[in-house]
């Protein structure tokens, strides 16, 4: 190995900057600034963790789905979330950080997942509300990530976004069935929307002037739009969808603003956001405990697969 001189370092940086500026993708074996690599690992890991923790609130309802049709759909959706987690852990691995290390950080609370999954799913209607609102917010966030400057992350997001649109539609359809059902079913759907609306808006992260990583991520083209911009886009999309559902959104300040060409909406309770993020949400403890238990309970499967491979001498790679 030849020592990297200051000149070559500068040349590498210049090539990286030029590729980003030209909207080219950065690939795993390209030189990249360490801070870019660290930012991507942090973001992709948080994203991957969210996918697999997100399996829990919905899996909670698989055994009690109201019909075989809804049950099959829900199982497919939860299986997709596991798949999304794997796509993302693979993308992180191309940056030199393996899945075991990331899972360990999740299990020991050193890395976070989306705060939205620290809220409970109290009724069947919550499954519909999650599909419509939580997956809807996720799609709004994730579609621009398909053009992220890091190739493997962008490619994983293309796959994920394709699959998420099924998630959102099944949720919407399920909520519509409840909304048009008995008065009790309608009330249940409305209650779920009331509880999930504000946490969904928080999924876009803190307001732009308080978002610590935003500016650099935008410069690196990891992020393409600001938190507030995406949040506004989501609100604008949801209002007519709620009307079609025959459900209201729990915000007295929500109204069309002719001048801006957008819906105005009320203030978000950021105290709640930070509180849930710090670990004081209704389900933080439960989610991590269950994740650890699932990992430990699955150890025998991993051991059996490894023993089988060793016996048949195939694991030579």
């Amino acid at each position: 190995m030849t020592a990297v001189t200051a000149d070559t370092q500068e040349a590498y940086q210049a090539a990286f900057d030029a590729a980003v500026a030209a909207d080219e993708r950065i690939e795993p074996r390209d030189w990249m600034p360490e801070a870019y690599r660290a930012t991507l690992v942090r973001q992709i890991a948080q994203h991957a963790h969210s996918e697999i923790i997100g399996m829990q609130p919905e899996a909670n309802w698989i055994t009690r789905a109201p019909s075989l049709r809804r049950k099959a759909i829900l199982m497919a959706k939860v299986q997709d979330e596991a798949g999304h987690g794997l796509y993302l852990y693979s993308a992180a691995e191309t940056l030199g950080t393996g899945r075991d290390e990331l899972l360990d950080k999740l299990h020991t609370g050193r890395q976070k997942y989306s705060s939205i999954f620290n809220y409970p799913t109290l009724t069947w209607a919550d499954v519909g509300a999650i599909g419509w609102l939580v997956d809807g917010a996720a799609i709004t966030n994730q579609v621009p990530l398909c053009r992220c400057s890091y190739g493997p992350y962008a490619r994983a997001m293309v796959r994920i976004c394709k699959e998420e649109s099924f998630h959102q539609r099944q949720g919407y359809e399920s909520l519509l069935a409840l909304s048009r059902g008995t008065p009790e079913q309608h009330a249940m759907a409305q209650d779920a929307v009331n509880r999930w609306w504000w946490p969904s808006l928080m999924m876009f992260g803190p307001p732009d002037d308080e978002s610590s990583h935003s500016e650099q991520s935008m410069a690196w083209k990891i992020k393409r739009h600001s938190n507030d911009e995406l949040r506004q886009r989501f609100v604008d999309i949801c209002v007519p969808q709620a009307e079609a559902l025959g459900l209201s959104l729990p915000d007295p300040d929500l109204r069309w603003n002719e001048e801006r060409g957008h819906y105005d909406f009320g203030p978000i309770d950021w105290t709640e956001f930070w509180d849930v993020l710090k670990g004081n949400g209704p389900c933080n403890e439960q989610r991590i405990t269950q994740r650890r238990r699932a990992h430990e309970d699955g150890a025998w499967v991993r051991e059996a697969a490894a023993a089988y491979a060793a016996k048949h001498g195939e694991a030579t790679a």
Partner: protein, 95 residues
């Protein structure tokens, strides 16, 4: 052997007959058979494929870390390899 020791496999999927296998992504598995099964569950949940290859990542030899490598330079200065290099008189057809 823990999962971190499980080899990494690159997955290639043929989306339909008549097309070549295309790289879909990677996964860890203790052996080739498990890699195939996991690849089926991970990359073809919606009939995205009719055939899958899995290859140990360590078995792949790559050209170079840098795509601007001089390795590819010999082809850059030979525009005469492309049909657009040649002038064709107006009115000449089927050329």
């Amino acid at each position: 052997m823990t999962t971190s020791d499980w080899p990494l496999w690159e997955v290639f999927v043929r989306s339909r007959r008549g097309l070549s296998h295309t790289h879909a992504g990677s996964l860890h598995a203790p052996d080739a058979q498990m890699a195939l099964r996991n690849a089926r569950d991970l990359y073809t949940r919606r009939s995205e494929g009719v055939s899958i290859w899995v290859v140990p990542s360590t078995e792949i030899t790559a050209s170079s870390p840098d795509e601007k490598d001089p390795f590819f330079e010999p082809s850059a200065d030979k525009p005469y390899r492309h049909p657009t290099f040649y002038e064709v008189p107006e009115g000449v057809k089927n050329l």
